[in-house]
Every structure is written in structure tokens, then in C-alpha cells.
């Protein structure tokens, strides 16, 4: 299990929700909000592990997706 801690000041909550939903086929994702941060606990699905995906890569890709969506939602994207 990998825990990702997204600070509210830097990440958009809707973007994180969207990212979590996008990656639900590949991982079990527990969500929590605590101390000014959105916390996602990512556990790789057996099917994704069987396909050769690494848990760290899936978690990092989820974080990238959340960041990209945050930037688009905040209007900073070029």
C-alpha cells in the first residue's frame, strides 16, 4: 500500500476525485481528508500486478493525473 498526501493548497479536491476514479480499475483506493490534505491509500489490484504494473508506478501516475487536472481546473495550463 502506498499513501499519497495531497495538500489542499496545491491540489484541487475534484481533480483528486477524478484521478482516483480513473485509476480504480487498477487499484483499490481509500480516501481520507485530514489536516489540510487529501490522503489516498493506493493498493495495486491483483489483475494490474499480473499485467506487470508496479504499485509505485500506478501511484505516481495517479499523482501526475491529479496534478494535471488541478492545473487545468485552476486555469494555469497553457
Amino acid at each position: 500500500m502506498i499513501e499519497l498526501r495531497f495538500e489542499e493548497t496545491l491540489y484541487d479536491g475534484f481533480a483528486i476525485d477524478e484521478a482516483a476514479k480513473t485509476f480504480e480499475p487498477f487499484a483499490t483506493i481509500d480516501r481520507e481528508r485530514e489536516g489540510g490534505a487529501f490522503i489516498l491509500r493506493v493498493t495495486l489490484a491483483e489483475s494490474a500486478a499480473a499485467d506487470g504494473h508496479a504499485e509505485a508506478d500506478v501511484a505516481a501516475e495517479l499523482a501526475n493525473h491529479a496534478l494535471g487536472k488541478t492545473i487545468e481546473r485552476r486555469g494555469a495550463a497553457p
Partner: protein, 138 residues
């Protein structure tokens, strides 16, 4: 997330510049942002074979610098852009038509305005000026 850590100081790198730089790096690296007392810490992990995490973090830093400078220039040039846009819009409206001229309010205060000197006689405008005190006529 493991990877190279890069601190981007708030005074030099506004958050928008960090976001823009991160956005352009998302296809080449995994980027995770955390706040720090001085600004933002980016943890960068390269996705490419042959490119180290440190090199990917360096590319992000370079891009952040370029974006910060671009934002600085955009802020500085905003007044010029606004002035040009205003003139363009005003010019596109064209000269006033007959209806606008008829609707113009001409009062005592504005009736005798003659900034181009059209109402002046030729002598007033181009005639020989009287000699100033202390100057002799040639």
C-alpha cells in the same frame, strides 16, 4: 514518492510558474508537489530510460525559470496590451455618424472649443505677430 527533490522559492517562482513547468513535464516525469516554508518542493521521478531523476528535476527547474520570466514579462506588458486593445476597439467603431453628431450636446462650455484653430482668421493664425517688449522690429 521517491525521486529527486527540488525546492522552488516563492519569491522567484510564483505558483503559476511552478504549475506551468510541472504541466509541461508530466509526460516525461512523475511530479509530486508539497509546500515548504520557502515555497514549493517538487519531487521528480524520471519516466525515461537513460534520464536520471536529477536530470528530470533540473529540466523542471529550467522550465520553472522560463515560465516565471514569461509571467513577469506578461505582467509588465499588460498595460501596453490594454492600451493597444482599447485603441483598436475605439478605431473599429469608426468616425461618428450624422445621428451621433445630432445627438451631441453642445452647450456654452463646448460650443466655442476650437482646438484645431479652424475658427481663427488667417491673420490671427499666420499673421505677423506684434513684437514683444524689449525686442526691436527689424
Amino acid at each position: 514518492m521517491q525521486g529527486a527533490r527540488l525546492e522552488l522559492v516563492r519569491e522567484l517562482y510564483p505558483l503559476d510558474a511552478v504549475y506551468l513547468a510541472a504541466y509541461t513535464s508530466l509526460d516525461r516525469a512523475w511530479v509530486f508537489l508539497e509546500s515548504s516554508p520557502a515555497g514549493v518542493v517538487a519531487t521528480v521521478r524520471s519516466k525515461r530510460d537513460g534520464v536520471s531523476d536529477d536530470a528530470a528535476a533540473g529540466q523542471l527547474g529550467n522550465e520553472a525559470l522560463a515560465q516565471a520570466y514569461r509571467l513577469h514579462l506578461a505582467r509588465g506588458g499588460r498595460r501596453v496590451i490594454e492600451a493597444i486593445a482599447t485603441r483598436a476597439v475605439a478605431g473599429a467603431a469608426g468616425p461618428p455618424g450624422l445621428d451621433e453628431l445630432l445627438d451631441m450636446e453642445i452647450g456654452e462650455a463646448t460650443a466655442f472649443d476650437d482646438p484645431l484653430g479652424i475658427a481663427m482668421s488667417w491673420e490671427e493664425k499666420y499673421g505677423k505677430k506684434p513684437a514683444k517688449k524689449g525686442e526691436e522690429e527689424p
